[in-house]
Symmetry: C2
Subunit: 423 residues, 2 copies
């Protein structure tokens, strides 16, 4: 809820890190004087073109008594963390889009903010321009949130969308994406699901009001997805997407990032290129979806500036007179289910001898471990080797793993090529 | 941004109108004591089953000095308006889901709230559980909003989705919808687009921070859509949806509700049944979409209780010490473009003699008025009458109307059966 504020006061801020997001923030604020916010100084080691005074020394911002809000858009944990902690200690509010910092150290930063009576806001850390965190916290907090899941990494979604549309292999598409600037020279953080896992930890913490440790997030990337899987999935009505999934379970929660088969009729299936989309299921609100551009200076600056302006609004209206500041509850710990306990439907692709009775043997090995097949399909045969695609009904992952171990021991089975969960 | 508040204080509220939404609100609040809100009394003329004391007399709530927030979930303008104004005058905050009241009298209610230093919040009036208004106001206000459009009426979306899926005619589907409780016995408010037009006026006012008069909203309903139009639209890759459209134009804005052809590849095309979805285009945020259940006690109560809890939070933290209360800016007036000035692409279905040269004659009549055809298609012929479907390129509506007048004068043209805009 926006509060009344005097348009005459001007709240001074400093920006640490003037890359794509930081400089977009400086530009948006400068273009909108009616927000009553002034970028007193920006800090970057590079020479950058921004409409504010510049320094190389972060401490000039942190130690400036006029600056009330520090925007941290440097990224990474070090040295961002020490600057943010110092700013909080100096009684400054902090707005950051740094998902790694928040995912790894949310509890510590929150505790510091609480101690010093200030806010730490981080809408820009998840979903770019989609106001998902503030919506969960401000507009959906009267609900019991049961599930939050979606596409939260644009780079992998671009790659998977392109592989799907053009039937190309992962390596070729990754190289194209790097050329076009959609993937980093070192693409590990995106491809291997680290970026999405940071966002999953943050989404879980905000959705459940709990301290979900990033180290507890189960993570798989998209590097093992091949064109063959995408083609087989498509035949049976699915696309493959990298999902972040957060669910309320039995006294525990379930937080994970992995590629999954998504039915073509599900709205997430049509989220392509660099778009993000996040589903929320709660009670009494039912089902919601939020869709938008998940990265980039424009969208992310909308989120960062909105956080800055919200704090500026509260400062202007409450200045010294009340205790509105400090959004920070102590977050209770929560148990995260190990991936082995989680139930899923699965897609399994394997290579086996093209011989009479092979399918029967595999089916029996599954049945012995109480894994029941939804569909078994012998695909193409190359020489004496047949590709077999199996879909199995919902089963705990540990049972599936046991069944796959038994299947692997069958002399006719040459290789289990891929195993993917189905949403 | 949620503010810190003492969990011990209990804010007392009263609920006027305990229908589907009002009683869901009472139940959600009673189930969530940690919100620190208490329903002191509800008012309804009927006997209803709610977990709070009941009265038939609204003035008992309005005159109760302990009650700080009035929830108005009666619907309709009279007598809701006099109760809301009296509550504001008595210094009570008001939360309402009454779209007709807000659409018709927003400026007057806002002025009264400003005068008495209180809030009027109405998230529940648009999009049910989708927090679209608070998101526009709290999280996207740093953007220049250029466009807001979407599906905001569940009844008409149910009917159109059903006509599309089953090829049935409007009357048959309406009767089914009435039997199932998806349409009212008197369906006029939904079918003729009144409900959507209230929401369009509210969306425009909030998106543009302006006083958009409901009377200026252009409105067409879905009663003229026949199965034939849906089938022809489908052939060329479109579905028909009732849309609310709000756009920033040249010093004016464009606010309208009408059925429109939507490309099957547009995410709105897959929004079916009673779901709502609202697109927002702004700068720097880019494109966003918000999707969810647009009506019903559960979703709408999420919105209403969230508004109540936001106000309760501010009361608890600021009580008498600051001027946070009163969200109310004076809304500047804004000019609304007449529909005749607005440019669209169009779908036109007509009946003409099945005779040589007919298409050429029609094409010439269009060209004379500078309306250019994107596609002309002679569909089936019944006896001597042919059905012709024409798509025209973007053109101002007044030019199209002039062209259609000329076409109508052609002796070979028997009837212009339908004209629909294309999104």
């Amino acid at each position: 809820m926006k509060t009344n504020r005097s348009p005459h006061s001007s709240i001074k801020i400093g920006i640490l890190g003037l890359g794509t997001v930081g400089s977009a923030v400086a530009k948006v604020i400068t273009k909108r004087p009616e927000l009553g916010i002034k970028v007193k100084m920006g800090c970057d080691l590079r020479r950058v073109n921004v409409p504010c005074p510049l320094t190389h020394d972060p401490w000039r911002l942190i130690n400036d008594p006029e600056i009330q809000i520090i925007v941290e858009t440097m990224g990474g944990v070090n040295p961002a963390k020490q600057y943010v902690l110092a700013a909080l200690k100096a009684g400054k509010h902090v707005v950051t889009s740094n998902k790694e910092l928040i995912a790894r150290h949310m509890a510590e930063l929150m505790a510091a903010a609480k101690r010093h009576g200030v806010f730490v806001l981080f809408e820009g850390a998840v979903g770019g321009g989609i106001p998902i965190l503030n919506t969960l916290r401000d507009n959906l907090f009267v609900n019991r949130i049961d599930e939050v899941y979606g596409i939260v990494n644009g780079t992998t979604n671009y790659i998977l969308s392109k592989m799907t549309a053009e039937g190309k292999e992962f390596d070729a598409v990754l190289k194209e994406a790097q050329k076009l600037g959609y993937a980093e020279a070192n693409p590990k953080a995106d491809i291997e699901g680290y970026d999405a896992s940071y966002k999953a930890a943050i989404l879980a913490s905000v959705a459940f009001g709990a301290n979900v440790k990033w180290a507890d997030v189960y993570r798989e990337g998209i590097e093992k997805i091949v064109a063959e899987d995408i083609a087989y999935a498509s035949e049976i009505g699915y696309v493959i997407k990298l999902l972040a999934i957060v669910k309320r379970g039995n006294g525990k929660i379930d937080v994970r990032v992995h590629p999954a088969l998504v039915s073509k009729s599900h709205p997430l299936a049509n989220v392509t290129a660099n778009f993000n989309a996040i589903y929320v299921k709660g009670s009494p609100v039912g089902e919601l979806m939020f869709y938008g551009q998940g990265a980039g200076g424009g969208p992310t600056s909308s989120a960062v500036v909105s956080d800055v302006a919200s704090i500026a609004g509260l400062i202007s209206c409450c200045e010294e007179t009340c205790q509105c500041s400090g959004n920070v509850r102590s977050l209770p710990s929560v148990k995260v289910s190990p991936i082995t306990e989680i139930e899923n439907r699965y897609y399994i692709r394997m290579e086996a001898a093209d011989r009479h009775g092979v399918l029967a043997g595999i089916a029996k090995a599954f049945a012995d471990k109480k894994v029941s097949n939804a569909a078994v399909n012998q695909k193409e045969t190359r020489g004496s080797t047949a590709t077999i695609v199996i879909l199995v009904h919902k089963v705990a992952e540990k049972n599936l793993v046991a069944a796959l171990r038994a299947v692997k021991r069958l002399s006719v089975v040459r290789k289990i090529s891929n195993v993917l969960r189905i949403l």
